[in-house]
Symmetry: C2
Subunit: 564 residues, 2 copies
Amino acid sequence: MTQLRFALAQIDTRVGDLDANAEAIMAYSRRAAAHHAQVVVFPEMSLTGYPIEDLAFRATFRRAAWDKANAMARQLAADGLGGLYVVAGTVGTDTESDKPRNRLVVLHDGVVWAGYDKHFLPNYGVFDEFRIFSSGQRSVVLDIDGTRVGLAICEDIWQDGGPVDELAGQHIDVLLTINGSPYEEGKTHTRYDLAVRRAHEVNAPMIYLNQVGGQDDLVFDGGSFVVDADGTLLERSPMFVENLSYFDFDKQAERQQIGTIAAEMERDEEVYCACVLGLKDYMAKNHFSGVCLGLSGGIDSALVATMAADACGGENVCGISMPSQYSSDGSKDDAADLAENLGAHYEVQAIEPLFQSFQRQLTLGGVAAENLQARIRGVIVMAYSNSRNLLALATGNKSELACGYSTIYGDAVGGYAPIKDLLKTRVWDLSRWRNKAAQDGLGLGMLPVVGNEAAASAKTVPSVLIPVSSIEKEPSAELRPGQKDSDSLPQYALLDQVLAAYIEHAHGRADLLADGFDETTVDTVMRLVDRAEWKRRQYPLGPKVTALAFGRDRRLPITNAFRE
Amino acid sequence: MTQLRFALAQIDTRVGDLDANAEAIMAYSRRAAAHHAQVVVFPEMSLTGYPIEDLAFRATFRRAAWDKANAMARQLAADGLGGLYVVAGTVGTDTESDKPRNRLVVLHDGVVWAGYDKHFLPNYGVFDEFRIFSSGQRSVVLDIDGTRVGLAICEDIWQDGGPVDELAGQHIDVLLTINGSPYEEGKTHTRYDLAVRRAHEVNAPMIYLNQVGGQDDLVFDGGSFVVDADGTLLERSPMFVENLSYFDFDKQAERQQIGTIAAEMERDEEVYCACVLGLKDYMAKNHFSGVCLGLSGGIDSALVATMAADACGGENVCGISMPSQYSSDGSKDDAADLAENLGAHYEVQAIEPLFQSFQRQLTLGGVAAENLQARIRGVIVMAYSNSRNLLALATGNKSELACGYSTIYGDAVGGYAPIKDLLKTRVWDLSRWRNKAAQDGLGLGMLPVVGNEAAASAKTVPSVLIPVSSIEKEPSAELRPGQKDSDSLPQYALLDQVLAAYIEHAHGRADLLADGFDETTVDTVMRLVDRAEWKRRQYPLGPKVTALAFGRDRRLPITNAFRE
């Protein structure tokens, strides 16, 4: 046989939920087989979910994952699908050291071929894999009816040397990589460039299969693809949705056939979808069906509410207007208009009487009085969350969080902060993009993200979502008369540039000056950020006096469905 | 010369504060030289502070540390101390990879001998060193006037193989290790046993020099020591205080002379001191001179207030009684008595009127109403913190935090939680120990911890600190009529045993049953802990969509005195 059909199963998994993940793998395998695939490929650690953090250390979990993989292989054979090669990721155990391994396995002929162990273990940025796993030492070539398939897992292709280097000398026909690669702005092109380089090195087409979905504070964007050794794009799966597509490898052909190529998204759409998918999956995996949040009439809460309506439907969003004596009429109107546009519940809870009650006892002034208003709002939001079982959303953006322009236990209250990683200027950009998309017919809940596959066309499309005045008015916390953000912060257009350089690109003071920022701005922003970082760390910490303290030693993922 | 005098400088450092740390190193070096030491030894990364986390990645910081070390060497030479060997820890740079190194340097003759780079980089528990540093590859023997001194840094002696193994073949006279080893209950003996083994392996006395002080949520206990190759204890420094002592090595002698041996502490004293030092140093390094906290009359807040009075003096403790309609008269009296015993400020803020104001608007019932009371208290505590610049202390213990028996944004509010790592039964033990110590004459502020060296004898000694009824009464959150902790939790004597096994020793369900716990208790505790862990993770998280998100990518230590 010179033709081999690979099915690329870009799925969303649940950390620790072996049953649900196995079910998804079985269902996609059956679909792939029905479409005559001989190999079906699932993401890195797709059986266990990813990242599983310290769950990997539980021997009972590793045993359960192994048993589950074997049961799946037997079931496939019993269903007459023993001839299929199912490539999936799971947690393994190094027999020598008894340490966990990040492992690729192949289910075939009713058994589990313990396949390939990840070699390079990322331990930077969001990754802690060296902490958890031990390194695989061997490169592996899988022979499928005469087609030589070289194997790699995620980071293995990001580092020079190692398994891909070894595979280059082994005359492979296809390089197959399974990935759990989180979304970052601009990463699509980085991945593509890297893949082209690796495909060239091994002189074979490369399959890049990535997971999709939200997990804790990570969003995996999918966007799986296949490139040929000469850099030709042979397949591209869409981002942010589950997907099954095919790559027909022909060993005899001079050029591989080009399959389905999903359209690229524009940048604002990409980031907006990432935020909505993160929230939507966080809710689904933590069993929330609705959210509550404060609606101030400002742009941050407006964008968060809109994202929430896109994630779970406006009817499951509870917006709470909590005006004080300093809230403008315009703000109150904007909040009400937004709720109406979204089809959200809208309730008003004036904080003035509560504020007066506190002040009769405490007589606070200055910042303490401003914080008090924000904290009364926090108590109200949490009361809604507790009494109606709603996920409280915090509405802070990255610019204000970075500069400490926020009240701990006040507006920072919430179980999830959908825009905490968006600078203020991005908040405006995405708001404008979402309004424009609505005008172009993209109704609430119609975004191309996991779970929206069904009935998107049935949704109604409002002509405007976010009130224009929320986007255009000057930002204000409205905690004292006439207050403007620009009283305390540089203008956002400038601030965001400095923040990006200082926080995201780790430029030091000398670098920032060389970037062309003036000294006063640089020193102001550095002082704000450093102070905010210091304050942000003032959470309940205490000495570690026993073998294991909370929050520092034990690192478990949020969605832990595994029960021993 | 056959005699060599080592000075063991067990000091407290400040992360990122090169000036302050250099000043301490210079002062201790001068004192050591005045006492005829030829070698003076400082802890791991003593020039930079430890752990410096991602501060290591800043090239400007590494350059500043290098410049500072050179300036110190020149200054020592200028002061006529060029002949002294000053062994200290700092951050270095691997010239090949440009990555940070955890480095031991020797200042001598006016220059910096770039010495030894740590080989084993711990990346488990509280340690993230593999993330940050690259590994040193060489073992190093320092020849000091004919005495061969083998070098190692902390983790290097905890792993078999590596540098100590190499040193065993190199006929060294002394094994010198510098450490940043955090306190854990019972670790003193583990360290000693390990040192005896290593000293035996290299057939030479081993110097174990550890840092002291609190940093973030770690407490370093000092307790430096020297053991001979046959296991004889030759020197032991006290725990929890800065100290300078000496070890006279005699190459000709058959047995080394025994120096000063500090008395061992009993276990409760040790843990109590660790908690107080953690809080005291956290306050000092974050520039707080006073604290505020809610005083309920219960044992948790009573112990925290007493620790705080030991850390900063009763006159700097502000205790706030916040009774509700469910608070018993006994509780209110106990809170007042405690404050009087401690010499603390005491204020009463009834929450009933505030609770009624909220209820007029929100009409909450059940747990939401209970949480509302706790959150009103949280707002009040933060109002005191903001308006008087006091560090708010959270009073939760490990048992209730583990089981989720606490209100987020309510009683969990605070910048530091002194007893978050103590199980409830330990809270009672330490309270009894502290009361007994007071009877034996240990006044407030007289504890042997860093910063208490001066004027301890001048303090008055109260005959009783914690009201006996706070220790003896049945625990209750007092959030509804007649509520008792035992309504929701197993009895603490049993609960704490299960928690220790499940959380601290990572026993799974099968292990817990094999430990002899009954099935109902095991399932109850596991359910509570897993659910609490899930809820605890519901903090403002959001998707990571740009290159670097807060709280996940950037890991900076709290006390960041370094300014570029």
